[in-house]
């Protein structure tokens, strides 16, 4: 075998599969003039998003499956706004035929999950700022035993019984324990530095507020160990004060 033959057998390509995130323009009304205006407005919001962006045109949501749509004009319109049509999603025979003329592949209708994509963050609705939603506190009346974990998501945690060693209390807000606190208590775990821990008897394995913590070894040296206290954060120092 000559050198040339060997070279000839060397593969010149590889086939690969890949998942790409692609923008889909789903047309719901056959009104190209309005599309032109609305696209222009979008482009203004985020010009970078609309420069040579690959696009799939989805036409199956159009009334009458998009019969009578001028595909040539639609593709040209998209091109004008920086969107380059890669393929078509359609089920109407005329459109499929038209796609053939433009040499555009036709994709099967999608059953997959799609989320709506907004090129620019919507300008915040100028209306009144929304009231902070009130999340109810989580109230536990039975003892929390070692190995149990209780999380009050988005609010306060109130425990009306003893918290055993090895138990873990978590809250996005404050933690109140009306009994001995012998386990771990982590308040403001999403980073709220104003969260506090209140307890009738401080005997905790660990207390933490917004990530600043003290373990039992340090807590035991506190003069308030075993007493009713509140624990708050100032700067990054946990302050323990008598209740």
């Amino acid at each position: 075998m000559s050198q040339a033959d060997l070279l000839d057998q060397e593969p010149v390509f590889q086939l690969k599969g890949s998942m790409l995130a692609i923008t889909i323009l789903e047309l719901v009304q056959n009104d190209l003039e309005r599309l032109d205006r609305q696209l222009a407005a979008k482009v203004e919001q985020a010009p970078a998003f609309f420069s040579n962006t690959p696009l799939v045109l989805a036409l199956e949501k159009l009334p009458e499956n998009g019969a009578g749509l001028d595909l040539a004009e639609l593709v040209a319109l998209c091109r004008k706004h920086g969107l380059r049509t890669l393929a078509l999603r359609a089920s109407q025979p005329q459109l499929i035929e038209a796609a053939g003329r433009f040499d555009l592949p036709v994709l099967p209708p999608s059953g997959a999950r799609e989320r709506s994509l907004d090129p620019a963050a919507k300008p915040a609705p100028a209306a009144k700022p929304t009231e902070p939603e009130h999340r109810p506190s989580r109230v536990v009346t039975t003892p929390i035993r070692g190995g149990q974990q209780v999380y009050a998501q988005g609010g306060d945690l109130i425990v009306m019984a003893a918290v055993s060693p090895g138990a873990e209390l978590l809250a996005d807000g404050h933690i109140h324990v009306y009994g001995p606190l012998r386990g771990r208590a982590l308040a403001g775990i999403k980073g709220n530095p104003n969260a506090r821990i209140f307890c009738q008897q401080l005997a905790a394995e660990m207390v933490s507020i917004a990530g600043s913590y003290k373990v039992a070894e340090d807590l035991r040296r506190e003069p308030l160990w075993g007493k009713a206290v509140q624990i708050g954060l100032s700067g990054d120092v946990l302050n323990i004060t008598r209740l």
Binding site: R145, G146, Q148, P165, P180
Partner: protein
């Protein structure tokens, strides 16, 4: 309606089987038809403590697998009319237990008995879980030392969250604390946790305090439940616990250091 009682602890060696045997025998002594079921598959002990090890033919696993009927597997106690034992299998392990099988056996026992005592294995795994899953009441056996108390606490958490009653949102399992191997002298010296300490940490109702006693070991080795030794302090303490379990109000005994009597002090005699 039959009551399912689980005797559990988390930690091993605290006296679960001794307690199961004593409480079961105590209930039978008071005229209640009682079955004691050994859930400690692979480490079968209950039959030894009950003194029926030579009469085990079929076991719990045989009944679950349908190799034997419950009537064939139940061993009747030679001393008491109302007392039966269902032995664990010694040749299998806990994986031989399954929830459907246990439920079937428990339901069948419920039809024929007033009390079913489930003697749980140590740990919090499958055997212990299945022993407590169908329970109405739980006796948590604890020694007055920190590791035992911590394990009991963990077990109480599981009773409150992983039992059938908890899963179905029914009334929770009624929990009783039984403190065993209690030595008032060592408590006074500060070497052992006191009753109040344990009660405070676990915050459940105290069913009884069983003093550390020579009688327990002797009874185990002879295969006689210690409650039948009416002379012993441990036997009397178990008797009180059974009465409390049945709803009687009885003051706790054996909590204080015994003061040596006049003659004992004089001659330095030992009990």
């Amino acid at each position: 309606m039959a009551k399912i009682l689980v005797v559990t602890s988390g930690k091993g060696g605290v006296g679960k089987t001794t307690t199961s045997a004593a409480i079961g025998t105590g209930l039978a002594l008071r005229g209640h038809k009682t079955a004691i079921v050994d859930f400690d598959v692979g480490l079968r002990n209950l039959d030894l403590i009950m003194g029926c090890e030579r009469r085990v033919v079929y076991d719990f696993i045989n009944v679950i697998n349908g190799d034997a009927t419950l009537t064939q597997a139940l061993i009747k106690d030679k001393r008491l009319e109302n007392l039966y034992v269902l032995a664990a299998s010694q040749t299998r392990d806990k994986d031989a237990l399954n929830i459907e099988g246990v439920e079937k056996v428990i339901n069948e026992l419920k039809e024929n008995f007033e009390y079913v005592i489930c003697d749980s294995p140590a740990g919090i795994e499958k055997g212990a879980h299945l022993a407590m899953y169908f329970a109405d009441e739980a006796i948590v056996v604890t020694n007055p030392e920190v590791s035992s108390v911590r394990d009991s606490d963990r077990m109480l958490g599981l009773l409150a969250s992983k039992s059938r009653r908890a899963e179905n949102g029914e009334e929770p399992i009624k929990e009783h604390l039984l403190l065993t191997r209690y030595n008032p002298e060592r408590v006074t010296k500060g070497e052992m946790l006191g009753v109040e300490d344990v009660e405070e940490i676990l915050s459940i109702r105290l069913l009884g305090v069983i003093p550390e006693s020579q009688a327990v070991l002797k009874a185990s080795n002879q295969g006689i439940p210690v409650i039948l030794d009416e002379q012993s302090d441990a036997g009397q303490a178990y008797s009180d616990a059974v009465d409390r379990l049945l709803g009687k109000e009885i003051a706790h005994r054996f909590l204080d250091v015994k003061k040596p009597g006049f003659l004992q002090r004089l001659f330095g005699g030992r009990e």
